[in-house]
Symmetry: C2
Subunit: 588 residues, 2 copies
């Protein structure tokens, strides 16, 4: 794998400018440069040519007639932030995420390929990855080797053949995240074959091992895991570091854990180079109101992590981890010119952002131009046919009197809870189910109408007519509520939109967020999507939803590597026991 | 490039042992493990299977009937030392160096390929590199892209074709060292083509930029240099770190600079992960009497570098730099089981050494078995023909009355100094040259007798009959002295030996060290070669040699990237001006 993408032509230009033989394209002048290599703030000129840093030093290089000069007097000049673990498909597109976070200082993201693998036409995947990688914000990739939920299409969309075809791409820096860590622990042959292929290709292996003990981590490290981002307290994070794993301290909408994690990054250990920061795919509302890597970094500073170390965790450390330390993560010759002008070290939100050598944002305003992307050419349609569910699909008939049900404990964890239902609890129709307060019907449907999975859901909302969501790990459509007719209306509308989140009550459309791009992404900006998340949250809060992130509650309904029960293609699934509690029903 | 070489079979064994399902091959039990990742000394059991670390933790794994138990109670258990910059051809073979330094705790060396490229049959190079890599001490390689002296064979033996053929080998982790840094600075096209090929293949570029200013380093960093080991004081080392280069702090027989360098590795910077230690190819006498990486580490500790940081500089940092952090440099699952049992952290010389999972040494005694290597099959003969020089070859006739001569300032630096000679200064014969005291004749000869280069040499010895040495950067035979007949006798004997260092005086053989392997390497052990170096040093000290390392004085006579004048294939060469002072003479 390349450590730097600089070309011979670029090297010619870089060395010429550094020698003083030709003028730079851009000079960032008069600032104090944060040198993440030596750990210093040093007054220095930064010269850029051909998209890369040519010179950092005391010499004042002569500007040419075309040279752009960025005044950084009295300011700190820092490298752009590198997110080591992004999920750029959270209700918006990678390019909209990039447009939102570039002005906040994030200039590179090593990102999930779940959308590419699940949603894209196989013959367009590579084109899409290459096109997305070259946006003004630089995307690199971690390649999924299995879905977040077991599904019959996994074997093809994330099988060895496709994996091997994509593993050779320079921009693929890792495989993962390995959500099915128990299979790695047990030595499941299919997963091990994929891990071995990744190790043979020199790729990192992104672990996902929530709650796994120090002792069991030893097995996962031996199996090839090279990082983990699932620690939720300092002790767990330290156990991961001790096992030889790189540690990503997470702080985002799903889990804002930095205050609890920061304690492990004290003293000399802060400088280990093996600790990184990531917001781990925050929802658009969080990005819009709190920020992205800048927010994680700000929180790290507030939590008492040494400022130099904190900046390294957001810049050099992720670059080094992915073998990109000669390309990203610091201001030195040859590196991509991703440069931030900060008011001071305590304020990681930049006043100006240079990305790939061009001024990409000033004072929070995006200046970089983004191409229009041909999503229609890349994506498979969510619902191939014209099938739409009727209210009768949402009948609870045939369930046992005591139903093994899901109870949402918090945003992402669901436990099994038995619910006694009257017989019959409901047959569909506008009057709804006769169920205890706070219990909803929950369905997972094939968008083509081939099958359904059923259970009941508590801990989500006290009352709700019908809500449908294609925003899920599982690839189908989730529908929950107390009124089969509202549920049918919501699901029908979501399918009509080609994907989306829709709420109906008493026959009235209360909310819709179209997600026409594979059922996961809207065509909206982060600000617009943030408004929709805000609206949806308010709507559900009124109805009793009291967890902190509705988007992750929806996304993870079928994420069958998280405890304890999930509604998946296999039916209602007991994760720890590995058994089906209520089987899938064919509707054919 | 692979980050780890572990195979699927090994992963099966590792995870099985870590789960407790099968017994380890080896248990290092009861010690305090130096965890270089988290920066701690922690009581832990270390279990090994299939040559790799399977488990490090508190659990006491059950030993099987075949399990070897190494008692580490009261001891520190540390990862083996990794030399990032070795030259395993300094008068001995790589395997003899390995036999000497394994008991001293060095378990891996990223090593020079000068011998492979200069001395080996092209069709055997790859076989030799693969065979040498798999000795009990693990060799990786940096690939030379040019010689240490300009030579007509450079274009083929280190040309693009051969480079591209070897650059794909997993064990080749870098190219370099780039001794011709001025060509990189100037953007010389041939060198840049090689650097670009290396960067494209994801390899590091080992710099060699002695005395280069902070400002000029910017050009070299842009050209692709990723490390430098030539800093001789703290300020130079810091300038290299600031330029984004990794820094190797050198401490060996050529330059024991750690006390002067250590100051730059204070405070948080000690933990940057971008600082490494290396002895940079010490001569056998130094290895035998002082040590190797253990000595550099001990010196770093004495110089006040934080102990944890110092150990990281000798283990994890070089492993990480070369993309081998999942293979080497720390004790965590999946890593090669290169394990040291140390008396305590202050004593880096191990009581026991495990290499690749086997006990390789105890109490300084080597236990590992080394294969017999087929050097004859690999190497080209030094002198293809039967030509032997007569005394008349060493005539000074025809030199101008004022000769531009070499004066050895210290072990490795030679300056130009004019010497007036009587006419005629000598015609050969037993009575010798009529030259001022302390001035010798110096010749560089084609071992096949095709050409000679001549000058005079001062600062080396006050008196000396004749000395011949094939131990040189340049690939020919150097002969110096005041007696043409002794010089002819020494050169003849050196050629008869197939290479060597030979001293004759008044017709008597005073010293010989046969170097039949390409003229650079003996078949002796390090201890034996150390004796020879000691004997040669004493012999020359008696004759007025007052620098600190005779082996490097000989090796570098033709090293035309070092200042200021060198005797090379191009004749007497002014390095800074790039011009010939006395041309080569054809004898053919």
């Amino acid at each position: 794998m390349r450590r730097t993408y600089r070309t011979t032509e670029q090297i010619r230009a870089l060395t010429s400018v550094a020698r003083g033989d030709s003028p730079p394209d851009l000079l960032v002048s008069g600032g104090s440069v944060l040198n993440v290599y030596s750990g210093e703030l040093l007054p220095a000129e930064v010269a850029v040519v051909s998209g890369r840093v040519a010179y950092v030093g005391a010499r004042r290089l002569a500007a040419g007639p075309e040279t752009v000069v960025l005044d950084a007097r009295g300011r700190v000049v820092a490298p752009g932030y590198v997110d080591p673990h992004g999920h750029p498909q959270a209700l918006i597109t990678p390019s909209e995420l990039a447009r939102a976070v570039l002005p906040l200082g994030t200039t590179a993201i090593v990102a999930d390929t779940l959308i590419q693998l699940r949603l894209m036409r196989p013959d367009r995947t590579r084109e899409a990855m290459e096109t997305l990688a070259d946006l003004p914000l630089r995307f690199f990739w971690f390649l999924r080797v299995h879905g977040q939920a077991h599904s019959p299409i996994d074997a093809t969309i994330m099988g060895m053949e496709r994996l091997e075809g994509l593993l050779g791409l320079e921009d693929v820096r890792a495989v993962g995240e390995i959500t099915r860590w128990p299979e790695a622990y047990a030595g499941e042959a299919g997963l091990q074959e994929k891990l071995s292929a990744a190790l043979g290709a020199g790729r990192r292996v992104e672990g996902h091992a929530p709650g796994v003990s120090a002792d069991r981590l030893q097995v996962l490290a031996g199996a090839g895991f090279s990082s983990d981002h699932e620690a939720i307290d300092a002790e767990q994070a330290l156990a991961r570091l001790r096992a030889g794993l790189f540690v990503i301290l997470r702080h985002g909408s799903l889990r804002p854990d930095l205050p609890a994690l920061a304690r492990m990054a004290g003293g000399d250990r802060a400088f280990s180079g093996r600790i990184m920061l990531s917001p781990d795919g925050p929802n658009p509302l969080f990005v819009h109101t709190m920020g992205y890597m800048d927010h994680a970094l700000k929180t790290a500073l507030e939590a008492g992590i040494d400022p130099l170390a904190a900046y390294q965790m957001a810049t050099l450390n992720p670059a080094s981890y992915f073998g990109l330390d000669e390309e990203l993560g610091g201001l030195a010759p040859g590196r991509r010119a991703d440069i931030l002008v900060l008011p001071d070290l305590g304020n990681p939100r930049p006043e100006a952002v240079v990305a790939g050598g061009r001024i990409a944002a000033e004072d929070g305003r995006l200046l970089a131009e983004f191409p229009v992307l041909p999503w229609e050419r890349w994506l498979l349609p969510l619902a191939p046919g014209a099938w739409r569910p009727t209210a009768s699909v949402f009948s609870l008939e045939g369930l046992p009197p005591t139903v093994p049900a899901m109870h949402l404990e918090n945003t992402e964890i669901s436990i099994r809870r038995e619910v006694s239902i009257e017989d019959p609890p409901g047959r569909g129709g506008s009057d709804g189910y006769r169920l205890p307060e706070g219990v909803l019907g929950l369905f997972f449907l094939d968008p083509g109408g081939g099958w359904r999975c059923r259970t009941l859901l508590s801990g989500f909302a006290k009352r709700l007519g019908g809500m449908a969501s294609t925003y899920s790990s599982g690839g189908g459509i989730y529908v929950m509520g107390r009124s089969p007719s509202d549920m049918a209306a919501a699901a029908t509308r979501a399918l009509d939109l080609g994907g989306g989140i829709v709420v109906f009550e008493k026959g009235t459309l209360l909310f819709e967020l179209p997600l026409p791009l594979g059922g996961l992404m809207s065509t909206r900006t982060v600000a617009e999507a943030a408004g929709a998340v805000s609206e949806l949250t308010a709507l559900l809060r009124e109805r009793g939803y009291d967890h902190h992130d509705i988007t992750y509650s929806l996304l993870f309904l079928g994420f069958d590597s998280l405890p304890y029960v999930r509604l998946t293609y296999r039916g209602l699934w007991d994760v720890m026991r590995g058994e089906t509690l209520i089987p899938r029903e064919e509707m054919g």
